[in-house]
């Protein structure tokens, strides 16, 4: 009887050690695979910098009135000197919210430039434009529980020349200032 009790204790302690060890290794494993803060910060900053430095003229032939790449199927930019971020401001001014989402989708989300460990959102004046169909980042799966969220913002403003068919005069249109924000978080 006494011997049996000893066996139980030994088995009990072995099981406890096994559970403890598995727990510790699982915790250590999950920490080792987590994406780094540096990656998140760089990704948010780089994405916004890229949109600010890439020109619409990189993707449009204004003589032939055709655009390609991220500007495929979007209206021809009115200001030929704009960056992609400037063009986004132009689209917002003209109420082309859907085109902004298309542009972000084509230039950032579908271009293999995002790190696979991170999710990405793009906001303009606090409104979410990417991902499509969601209004607040909090509503996206996994956002609230993410251990790492990084953000980068810029104030954008600009102008373009506009001419209505019925109006012989060219109108100088200002837009902005808007706050553009790229936010990434670890999956």
């Amino acid at each position: 009887m006494k011997n049996k009790k000893g066996y139980y204790l030994v088995i009990d302690s072995l099981i406890a050690i096994a559970i403890l060890s598995i727990g510790i290794f699982l915790i250590r494993g999950s920490l080792a695979n987590s994406p780094s803060q540096i990656q998140g910060e760089n990704l948010a900053h780089d994405t916004l910098s890229f949109l600010a430095s890439a020109k619409v003229s990189d993707f449009c032939d204004f003589e032939l009135s055709i655009c390609w790449g991220p500007l495929t199927n979007l209206e021809i930019p009115k200001n030929r000197n704009n960056s992609l971020l400037g063009y986004i401001g132009e689209l917002k001014k003209n109420g082309r919210q859907g085109s902004i989402t298309d542009l972000i989708e084509n230039s950032v989300a579908n271009s293999h430039i995002l790190n696979q460990n991170f999710n990405f959102t793009f906001m303009l004046d606090g409104s979410l434009f990417y991902p499509r169909g969601i209004t607040k980042p909090e509503d996206i799966n996994g956002y609230k529980s993410s251990p790492l969220v990084s953000s980068s913002s810029r104030i954008i403003f600009g102008h373009y020349d506009d001419q209505l068919p019925s109006d012989p005069f060219i109108q100088f249109e200002n837009w902005g200032p808007y706050t553009a924000e790229a936010r990434v978080w670890a999956k």
Binding site: I17, I38, A54, S111, H112
Partner: protein
């Protein structure tokens, strides 16, 4: 007899405590060392990547192929053609541009190698000339592979090599990757740098 049983039980409990204590001590030491290593590596990652981008954009290094997210293809080819470390040092220090750009990227305590390459919007590697990428493979046995067929970083590649996660050879103990969106040949691409590291010594 009952006393003997109590002694055995007490012995068992005590030994379990000692065992657990030793186990926790060992795990703590391993964890501490691993945390230290992670911190070092994180520092290395930050230093390497930030230095690389800064060096690339610095006009003092001559043929700067990256400006405002745009890749100058001709200058990229020149950069690729440079040997990282010529057998005979260049008399003109600033001609050894690749060495300069990659200079100071190494972090004390780590042997670090690099592979710079481009992935287009379709997920294919776009070679630099006939090569998959360009970089530094400074030590014998240290190799970086990209693409489906384990092409070496500076190995020959087809015009459109399907992309797969690049990897470092077994020689290295750590790897990290960073990327920047760029425009190359009027196409959005991801300029990626794979860093393979091994603790020196």
């Amino acid at each position: 007899m009952q006393k003997r049983g109590q002694v055995i039980s007490f012995d068992l409990v005590l030994s379990t405590f000692i065992f657990l204590g030793a186990l926790m001590f060992i795990l703590y030491q391993i964890d501490n060392a691993s945390f230290q290593k992670t911190q070092d590596l994180s520092f290395a990652e930050g230093s390497v990547i930030n230095n690389l981008w800064l060096n690339m954009k610095n006009p003092a290094y001559g043929q700067t192929f990256l400006a405002d997210s745009h890749i100058d293809e001709a200058k990229l080819q020149i950069f690729e053609s440079k040997a990282y470390r010529d057998a005979v040092p260049d008399q003109n220090f600033f001609n050894d541009q690749k060495s300069l750009v990659l200079h100071n990227l190494g972090v004390a305590g780590f042997a670090v190698d690099f592979c710079l390459y481009f992935v287009n919007g379709s997920g294919n590697i776009k070679g630099i000339g006939p090569k998959a990428g360009t970089g530094q493979e400074d030590n014998a046995g240290m190799e970086i592979f990209v693409g489906r067929n384990d092409v070496r970083c500076e190995g020959a590649i087809g015009s459109n090599e399907p992309y797969e996660d690049p990897h470092c050879s077994q020689y290295y103990s750590h790897a990290f990757i960073d990327s920047r969106p760029v425009i190359r040949n009027r196409e959005i691409m991801s300029m990626k740098i794979l860093v393979c590291a091994k603790e020196a010594g």
